[in-house]
Structure formats: C-alpha cells, structure tokens
Symmetry: none
DNA sequence: AGGTAAGCGAGACGGTACGTCGCGTCTTAGA
DNA sequence: TCTAAGACGCGACGTACCGTCTCGCTTACCT
C-alpha cells in the first residue's frame, strides 16, 4: 500500500542505526519499537508502515551490515579443505564468544524461534548465503575427492556449524580457538574418504588422496 | 526470603500444570504470568514469590515432567555404539519435528537466549543430564576402543546434537529419520578410530579393534 | 506535558459520566480507576494522563454537573435577608439529608481531607462559587444595614454553613427543615444589628440581661 | 468469639501506639494494617481479631489518648459564659491549625465519612463527651438567663463548633485566634437574650436599625 | 506554478500485561 | 488458646508498550 518511491531514506537509516545501537546497549529483550522510534527521532508509524515490528527491523539492520561487502565472498580454494575452512570456523567461534558481537545473532535467533514467518526470511536473506559459501567449498572439495562422494553437503555444513551454535546457545562450554579446531578436526574426519564408507574397497587408496 | 517450609504444594502443582497446559495451547509467546495464575486459581504474587517470572516456571515444569522417571536412564550398551545411539538420535529429531512436542523446547531456548542466569539453570537442570547420558555411552565406547582415544567427549556430544538443533531452529531443512541417520553416520565416521588420526601407524590395526 | 489540543473530548465525557454513574451505584469507597476506565471504554492511561487519579476525576465530574447552569446564580435580593436565605439553607440540609444526593459530597470531602492539593482545587472550583453567592447576599445586606457593620462576611457564611456540615458529617442529629430554620434563625440573631455592637449605647443594659 | 480474658495487653498497647505513630508520620491515607502490625511487632490477625480494621484501631487509640484525663472535665462556670468558652474555642482552633495535632482528627473524620457504623461509635465515644461539656455549660448559662430560653442547645453547640471544622476541612481561610474569637463573638450574639426573640417586645426598634 | 496527496514527526488512544501493594483469611509453631 | 509470622487468593494500583489512529507539516508529483 505505501508508496516506496516516496520513502524517506533518512528515516530508514536512522531507524536501522538506532535499532543496532539499542540492541548493543540493552539487548533484544529490552528492545522496543517505541525506543527505536524515539532514538531515531521518528514516528512509530514509520516503523510499522515499512517493517511491521522490531523483528524485521533488526533483520534488515543485520542484512544491511552484512551486505556491506556485497554478499559473502567465496571461500578460497587452496586445495586444502581443512586449511581453507579453519579461519572461517575460528571466526564464527570468535564472534559467538564475544557478547557484543553476538548480541544481534542472539536477537535474530530469538525472533527466528518465535516466528516461523520471520524464520523463513532470516534463513533466506542472512543465513543461507553464509552457509552456502561453506557448502560451495565442500562441493568443490567433494569434486576433488577430498570429501566422500556420498556425503550430503547440507548435513556436512550443519555438522560443522551446528555444534558451535549449540555450545553458544546453551553455554555448555567455552568457545575457544581450540574448540573451533576440535570441531573442525572431527568434521574433517567425518567427511574424509576412508575405509569405513567403502565396504570392500581398500581404505588406504582414498586415504592416500587425502 | 520467603519461608519455603510453608509453601503450598497444591499451588505449586497447579501452577506448573497450568503453565504446561497453556504452553501447549497457545505457545510461549502468548504465555503470561497472569494467564498462568488465572488458570491455576492462584494469586500472581505466589508465582512472583517463588519463581520470579514465566521462564523459571516453565523450566520447573519441564524438569518436573522429565524427572518423572527419576532422571534420564543410562543408554543401553550392547557393544555397538551406533546401534545404541540410533534410537536416541531418531527420537530427538522426531520430537523436534513435531511442533507440539517441541513447543516447550522452543520456549526454553528463547528464555535461554534472553537470560544468562536462566541459561545456567536450564543447562544444569535439564540439558546436562540428557547430554550426559550420551556422553557416558561415548566414554564407555572410547574405553572399548570404538572411539578414538584423543576425542573430547563434550565435542563429540555436540557433534551429534548440534546439527539437529541447528536445523530445527533455523529451519534449514527437513527433520526426518534419514536426516537423523545421516548425522549419526557422519558423527560415527568422525569418532571411529582410523588411519587419519594416527599418522604413521597402520590404520588397519585400530580398525581391527572396532 | 501531554498536548491538550489533541485530547479526546469523547473520552473525557465518557470518563466523567462513568465516574458519576459508578459513584451513585457503588459509592466512593468502591470507586476505582480501573472500574471507571472499563465502564467508559477507555484505557486507564487516559485517566492517569489527564487527571492522575479518581479524586480529580470526580471533582471534574462534579464541576461539570454544577456548571451546567453556567455557574451558581446570584441569590435573590428581596430586602429580607432571612427570607432570601431560607430556601438556600433548607436546600442544603435537604441535599445532605439524602444519602444518594450527598454521596458525591461525601466523596469530595474525603478526598479533600486526604490531599491538601486536592483540597485547594476543590475549594476554588466547587465550593467557593457556592459560598460566594451567600457571601454576596450578606454583603448587600450589610450595605443595607441589615447586618452589623463589623461582621466578617467569611465568618458569617461559615456560621450559616458550618453547623449543617458538622451535623451531617458527625451524624450528631437529624437534618430536618426545622434544623435548617433553627440554624438560620440563630445566625440571623448573630448578624442582626443590636445594642451590643453599637458602642455609645449603654453596654450595661445588655450586660444586665445576660 | 475470641476470649477477651486471654487477650494480650502488651500487643494491644503496641498496636495502638504504632497506629498513633504512623498516623503522625505518614497520614491516614498511608496508614495500613500491615504497617501497624509490622511496627508493633504483631501478627495481622491480632489486629483483625480484636478490631477489624484500621479505623477502629485509630478510634481506640484516640479514645485512649483522650481518656487519659478520665474523660473531659466540666468547663469552669465563672458566670461569664463567653469568658469560660473562649479558651475552649481557641484550643480547638489551635489544634486544628496544627497539622500534626489534627492528623488524627482528620483520620477519624475520613473514617466517619466512609462508614456509618464507624461514625456512630466515633460520635458516641469521642465526640459526644466533648460536645457535652460545652452543652452543659450552655445549659447552665441558659438557666442563668444568659442564653435565650428558646435556644436548642445542640444547635447552639454546633453553631460554635461547626464553623471551625468547616474552615479546617475546606481550608477556606486561616485558623487563627482572631477567627476563634470572631466565631465566639458571633455565636454569643446569636445566643444572648435580646429584643428580637422576645415577642411582645417592640420589634420595630431593631427592625429600624436594619 | 499551484494544488494535492503522500510520507513524516508526534503522540493520544483502547488495550494487555506487567510487577507491586495491601486486603482479609488461613495455617503453622511456639509459649 | 492466643500469639507472631507470613503464605495465600484476590483486586487494584500505576507503568510500559503494543499497534492503530489522527493531527499539522513538509515535500514531491501532477496537472
């Protein structure tokens, strides 16, 4: 209904910035539409008109931030899968370990859990692009024979990512570089071609390729 | 401050039951202290006195429900780790796949993300006991040589559990039995002793031990 | 702080009406802000924003009702002070004698005793205009020589009004027409010029009579 | 129902004292049963058992205080009514003028207005004895011919007392010694025998003066 | 160029729930 | 059995935000 052409870019930016600021300062639970509007010097209606609530605003703010680089870049492909993934995994753990940096992720996760609708948008606009960079690297690795042929790449990505998010959310342990490396090592062992997955075939052959 | 000895058991039960009922009926987002009190036929103050908010009430209700069996039982140990784990993994996926069954988990996860304090209680009272059953089975498997000696068991547990929770939360894919089996298979491959983790040693040796 | 220009006249009227209705039905002790809001179909905040509590609302409602006639009219001046005052005094007694009619006065009096701030507003907006009509009549009577020159008119008004309110409040006796006439007669005797207050007249004469 | 013989005198005194203290400190509006019980170091039930609410407690406390002298003494009778009354009237005005001293009277008046039942007890136990001392003095004055024979003594008492209470409640003016004297002078003029009230005396004389 | 319709800031509005306070009742332990 | 203590069901308090709505105002488009 509203005419997007006449939308105020100034207000949009002020709102997204205010949302990010307040999220850092007070956390998602204390983030209110009224607070965002007041901080941004904006009428509440402007937020409801263009977003519909705090969830989509935060999502937009995050997308904005992450798309600063014009979408996540492809991972390097040096031929050594583990070496290429290590910095990514470490970076994720480092971000999750930092309360300030992960505040927005926390917010998005809450909203994702609260609204199926939001979950879909969040997944497609923010999460998928990031997961896909990993997935694509795994695909090339599989093509190169460094990953077992039968592996489902989506499962493989989650095997890498899932443990870290779980530990972060549930606070079941420290999020350290050692942890990142440990998970990476386990995941590589899971993906690496070996005797186990090729019954009857000589395991050493594929082991050599690794 | 309040005198726990004089606490009303009747009220406590009514509150926990009402909380569970409303959680099923309306979801966590629409669960209010006022609603719980009304349904339980109880004053709001009684809830605030003993719990302090809806989060701790739901946690208590869940703990109550799960501790009905006197704590989670140890997993069976048939000597075949994968076979012993499969039903557990499948059950977790099945529960997460069912919106009604996972409503409470969703609620607790939101609260966990919102409050560090709550997260701690949740982890210790609900999550840890469940994770420990898996961890203990893995420990015995490691002792039996079915899991590599160097594996950190906490990481191993998360390697199994994390991917499923991630897919469930982020709705990145279907939660099916095939998925459960796929993750289990990957995790087993990661844990299983093999050539990869013993550079220079003949991989077949340990393979034989499995 | 709120912008009075944007105030909803509809809500204001509904609130005042609801307050009057509930006052009649249940009395001041059972009158609640919540009840007024519900009856008026209005948010509580609207009451707190513009009034601050039930007291000011009732005051406003009363002022509204009494100012329907555009302020109290001047008393008639037939030249006979006692005759002019008698209907007023009788009317006051009659109103106080009727529980329904005096319910609001009772309410306002309680609030007046409870809050100095409220007392001031009540005095200026409701009471003073009414007392002034009597005072003005007394002033013209004094100018006409029917009231002693030295009489303080405020005291004179209270001499008339005070006894009735005292009996009403303390329930020390019946509030009848005879009582009204009795107080009026006494007050007239107090105000009427006589030997006592005219220095130059032989004081011993009246002293002897005592 | 409760057995008065086993009643704790210690608790009774502590409650009455606490009530008086809190009344002075915070006013009647902020006086609560819970507060009295806490201050007195007493269970709430003890208050509800023996009194039934804060109103009767305050009444009792006041009666206690005033009956310290074993009931109000008779006024002196020097033969000069006005001289005998003046200190009484001035004392009343002085007490009313002092916020601390009149706090209890304020409380009792509110309760009197709120509860007809309470009003009766208050009138009989506290007010009547005090009014009667004045009434008795007026009666002897009437017998001595210093007050007109036809005067209703209850009305006469209220003529003296009513104006002061009205000014005190409604805050319509200052409560000074001059005011006390003014009201007394007016009331004396109303009561004093004179030409006006003695039919058969030439009414024209005073009429002319009006 | 002027008129008009949109977006805008502001914030009042009807609501829902919050977390607190005090009520008057009831239960427990101790004297 | 009375008492101190205080938990309880209840109801109202005054506040915070919700999402909708109504104001003038600015601003850009469209005759």
């Amino acid at each position: 209904m509203p005419d997007a052409a006449r939308r105020s870019e100034r207000s949009r930016n002020a709102i997204l910035q205010a949302a990010m600021d307040l999220l850092q300062e007070k956390g998602y639970a204390d983030l209110t539409v009224e607070g965002i509007a007041a901080r941004a010097g904006v009428g509440k209606q402007t937020i409801y008109r263009w977003w519909g609530g705090r969830g989509p605003v935060v999502l937009d703010a995050l997308v904005e931030k992450h798309s600063g680089s014009g979408g996540p870049p492809a991972l390097p492909d040096t031929g050594d899968l583990e070496a290429d993934l290590r910095p990514v995994i470490r970076a994720i753990v480092a971000e999750l370990a930092d309360d300030r940096l992960s505040a927005t992720t926390r917010a998005l996760t809450i909203e994702t859990l609260s609204s199926e609708d939001f979950a879909g948008r969040m997944r497609d606009r923010l999460l998928r692009p990031q997961l896909d960079t990993v997935k694509n690297r795994l695909r090339s690795a599989r093509a190169a024979g460094q990953v077992r042929a039968g592996v489902d790449l989506d499962q493989a990505v989650e095997l890498l990512i899932g443990p870290m998010y779980h530990r972060w959310m549930m606070r079941t342990g420290p999020l350290t570089e050692e942890y990142a490396d440990g998970i990476l090592e386990l995941a590589m062992a899971a993906l690496r071609p070996g005797a186990a997955d090729r019954p009857g075939a000589p395991p050493t052959a594929s082991s050599d390729l690794m």
